[in-house]
Amino acid sequence: MKQTNRRIIQLFHVHKRYGAKTALIDITLNVEKNSFWFVSGPSGAGKSTLLKLLYLGETLSEGQVLVDGMNLARISRSRAPILRRKLGIVFQDYKLIPTKTVFENIALVLEARGMPPRYIRKKVNSVLRIVGMEDRKKSFPPSLSGGEQQKAAVARAVVGDPKILLADEPTGSLDADSAETIFKLLKQFHQRGATVLLATHDRELIKKTKENVLWLQHGRMAAGPRL
C-alpha cells in the first residue's frame, strides 16, 4: 500500500496506435513521487507519444494510465484542465504565445486558475528570478534566443507548482550551453519536489547522471528501467 501511494504515474500495458501504425506497444511503468526519469530512444521510438498520453495530448488505444490517481482512460474532457494543472509541460518548440510578453505568458497559467493579480505578480517574478529571466520579462518571445525562450517556457511550466514536470525534448533546438542550463533548471525543480520525466535522445546527458531511464525502441521498452 505504501509503495502504491508513492507512485505518481502508472502505466499498465499501454498501447497507442495511429491507424495501422503502432507508436507504443505494451508499456508498463511505475514512476514514484519525486523521481527523475529520462525517456530515451531514437527518433520515432515513441518518446513524445508517451508524454502526450500523460497530458491527454493523445488518447490511449489500449491499457491504463494513472496520473496522480486520475485514470486517464475514464477522464471526461471537462476534467482535462484538472489533470493539466497537476502538470508542467516544456516543449521542444517552447510554445510561447508570441503576442504576449514573457511575463504575460507565465502569468497566464495563474490567471487561468483565478489567482489574484498581486499573487500572480509576486509568483511570476519569483520564478523569473530562479530561471534568470527577470530582466527580459517585458520582452516578446520572437526577440529572445532559443535558450531564453526555453527558460521562459520552463518558468511557465513551474509557476503553478506542479507535481509533475514533463519535458519533451526541451534541449533539442538548443546549443550545448543552453541545453546544460535548461537541464540544471529541471534538476533544480526536481530537487524542490517535482517528479520529472524528460524525453531526450541525448545519450551524453543521460550518461552524466544516474537517473532512471526508460529506453524505447520501435514503441517498445527496449530494456528494463534503470532504477
Partner: protein
Amino acid sequence: MIALFFKKTFQDLTNNRFLHSITVVTISLSVLIVSSFALFFTNAGLLLDAWKKGIRVLVYLQADTDEAARLDLNFHLKNLEGVVETRFIARETALAALKTELKDQDAVFENLKENPLPDTYDVRIRPEMSEMQNIARLAQAIAGLPHVADVEYGQHWIGRFSNVVQIFRFAGYAMGGLFVLATLFIVANTIRLVVYSRQDEVDIMRLIGATERFIRAPFYIESVILGAGGGVIGVLILWGAYRLVLTRFETGLADGFRIGFLPPAAVAAIIAGSMLVGWIGCYLSLKQFAKT
C-alpha cells in the same frame, strides 16, 4: 476573473481593429435596415390610427328629402350607437365650400346649370369605434335608414392603405429575418477568423490547464460588444436620418399626427437583439472548436 475577461476582450478588439470594424459596420447596416422598417411600421400604424380617429361618415340624402324627413333622419342618426354628433350641410353650403376650395378652377363651375351636390349629414363617431369593422357596421346601419342615398367613410382608401401596410409589414418581417440571419453568419465568421488566428494561443491555454469557460468567455464578450456597437451605430444613423429628412414630410398627413422616432423600448429591444445575434453567432462558431 470577469475583469480579466474584459481586459482580454479589449486587447483582442484592439489587436484586430480592422476585422472588428468591418463586422460592426456590417451589423450596423443590418440594424439600420431592420429598424428603418420598424420605424416605417410604427409611424404607419400611428398614421392609420390618426386617420381612423378623424374618420367622418358622410351621409348623402336623397334628392326628394323634405325638412320633416331630414329631421327624422337626424334623430335616427343621433340614436345610433357610436355617433357623437351630426352636422347638416345643405347642398348650397357644400357647393359654396367647393367653389372656395377650387377657386383657381372657376371654369369648372361656369357651365354648371344646377347644383349636383346632395344635402349631407357629417356624422362624427366616438374614437373607440374607429376600427374599420365598427365603422362598416355603422355605415350599413345608416344606409338602411330612409332617405339615405349613399354613405361614404373613406372605406376604399383607408382599407387599401391598411392592406398595403400589412403587405409591407410581412415583407418587413421576412427581410428583417433575412438580415438577422446574415448578421448571425457574419458575426460567426468573424469570431471563426479571430479564433483561427489565435488557434495556437487557444491550444496553449488548454495545455496549461485553462478551462473552456476561461478560453471562450472573452470571445462571447467580444461578440456581444460587437453586436451592441453595431446596434447603437445603426440606431444612431437612423435617428440622424429621421432628424434630417423625415420631419420635413409630416405636416398635413393627419390631424394630431407627428412622425415619431422609435419608442425607447423598441430601441432597447433592437440593441438587445443585436447583442443576442452577436452571442448566437459566437456560439455557432465556437461549437466546432469544442470538438478539437
